[in-house]
């Protein structure tokens, strides 16, 4: 039995699982837009709400953070860069460089916003089937003239199907390298090349196999799409998210 990567769909019976995918798309957009200019207080309100849903779908937060360590490292890097490059009152200075309080504040805020957007994406992908995402994209694109909605939806669904495959290949190659003491290599460039080249090669090979398997079962544009299952509580979620967004905006204005 293998462990699921954080972005894979986890079947369940929570409110997010029951919610119509079209509605979930709307909620993701509203929440992500509200975070664009959100301050710390607004971000912490959003974090509280997201943590509630993460707990509801039984996400192990520490384990997930371990799996997303590279993303978290990227956020730390972002904070460091902002702290060092933004002018302001220095907290610590060395060799002519200074960490400023304004930079630290801005860096932390940007990192927190990024983190929240990632958590929103994680909640969405963990509670929504790939096939439903494809159908919802198709539904949203249908009224737009000159857009081949079926083709676009298929491209999105293929990309979503390949994502877990890439992560799996990355994990397996990294394990294979570590099992032969690859972690003793100190040169980060060599380390990077040793991991990425085999991963890329394997990903292309796996993609080839996956395409063959899909082709063998007649994969095409005109297929039976999954039905939208409305839960009748979508309106409650939409109104709540709009209220939360307004609350975040006002908190930002008056803070």
């Amino acid at each position: 039995m293998a462990e699921l990567n954080p972005f894979e769909f986890r079947p369940g019976s929570t409110s997010l699982h029951y919610l119509d995918t079209r509605c979930k798309f709307f909620l993701v957009c509203i929440m992500s837009l509200s975070l664009v200019n959100a301050g710390f207080l607004s971000c912490f309100i959003a974090l509280g709400v997201l943590l509630f849903f993460l707990k509801q779908i039984k996400f192990k937060i520490v384990e997930t953070c371990k799996q997303l360590k590279y993303f978290i490292l990227f956020l730390v890097f972002l904070i460091i860069v902002r702290s060092l490059t933004m002018p302001g009152d220095p907290i610590v200075s060395f060799h002519g460089m200074a960490i400023t309080s304004q930079g630290l504040y801005q860096g932390s805020l940007v990192a927190l916003r990024f983190f929240l957007v990632m958590v929103i994406g994680l909640l969405f992908s963990a509670t929504t089937r790939t096939a439903s995402i494809k159908t919802a994209v198709q539904w949203y694109l249908k009224p737009i003239p000159f857009v081949p909605e079926k083709r676009v939806a298929i491209m999105i669904s293929l990309a979503l199907r390949f994502l877990p495959l890439i992560l799996k290949q990355g994990r397996e190659t990294s394990n294979a390298i570590q099992s032969r003491c690859g972690n003793l290599q100190k040169n980060p460039i060599k380390k990077f090349i040793r991991l990425t080249l085999p991963v890329l090669k394997k990903v292309f090979l796996s993609a080839d196999h996956l395409i063959l398997a899909m082709e063998a079962r007649c994969y095409c544009e005109n297929r039976t799409d999954p039905e939208f299952k409305t839960w009748e509580k979508e309106m409650v979620f939409i109104i709540s998210s709009l209220c939360l967004s307004l609350c975040m905006i006002f908190t930002n204005v008056y803070a």
Partner: protein
């Protein structure tokens, strides 16, 4: 007189790198047969069976399904000849066990209520119904192989082609997969199995094809060819597992 359902005429495919491939292969498949295609690694077993599903196109020769070229209507070919791949992990595309089995019928644009009924029936038949909502990635190797078979059965194929169905499986899982394949054979499906493990399925097989270096070297009944397996680099099965079985078109 019985007519073959599948006819392979002088099938040749040489890979672009100039090495490997299959050369001048001809044989016929009759309804209800259980054919084992065997040979050493690299003998061309997988290349041969990939042609049957239209995943590889012949460079020379042709394949006729019910007397019609299989390349004329690939959807019909792939619906009639189902293919179970060697690596179940790369075959699985669904987010849940149910979605995975429904994938094929959805591609055939079958109505949703018919798909639901059909998928539930197949999951029940293969003992996978308890995993219906599970993510396939969390299943064991044997369960994934069963799921891959279920995904093909959902398309109602007449002929089922297996590529190394016992590879990387423990003994109980092998037996469980063999039970399913034997059951399919007894229910009238035509089975073509590429394998180097001849011993496991031999008691159900009715015919043996032995390949070497891309050529079909031997084609005949189990009793006639089993002693020759060793000379082609394939392990000879224990004699106690070989049963006298007439070829379907002879009975």
């Amino acid at each position: 007189m019985t007519f073959p359902i599948l006819d392979i005429h002088n099938l040749t495919h040489i890979y672009s790198q100039g090495e490997g491939g299959i050369f001048d292969i001809s044989f016929s498949v009759f309804k209800g047969e259980f054919i084992l295609v065997t040979g050493k690694n690299g003998s061309g077993k997988t290349s041969l069976i990939r042609h049957l599903n239209g995943l590889l196109f012949p460079q020379k020769g042709k394949i006729l399904l019910h007397n019609k070229d299989i390349l004329k209507d690939l959807t019909l070919t792939r619906k009639t000849i189902g293919m179970v791949f060697q690596d179940a992990d790369t075959q699985i595309v669904g987010d849940s066990v149910f979605d995975e089995v429904a994938f094929g019928p959805e591609n055939l644009n079958i109505k949703r209520d018919i798909i639901n009924k059909k998928v539930n029936g197949i999951l029940e038949r293969l003992g996978l119904i308890k995993f219906k909502d599970r993510n396939p990635a969390t299943l064991s190797g044997g369960e994934k192989r069963k799921l891959a078979i279920a995904g093909i059965l959902a398309m109602d194929p007449e002929i089922i082609v297996f590529d190394e169905p016992f590879a990387n499986l423990d003994h109980p899982s092998c037996l469980s997969i063999l039970d399913i394949i034997a059951d399919l054979s007894l229910n009238g499906h035509t089975i073509i199995m590429a394998t180097h493990d001849v011993e496991t399925p031999i008691e159900y097989a009715s015919r043996l094809l032995i390949m070497e270096d891309g050529y079909l070297r031997e084609d005949g009944g189990i009793q006639d060819l089993v002693k020759k397996l060793g000379s082609y680099g394939v392990k000879e099965p224990c004699e106690c597992r070989i049963k006298e079985k007439p070829l379907p078109w002879q009975s």
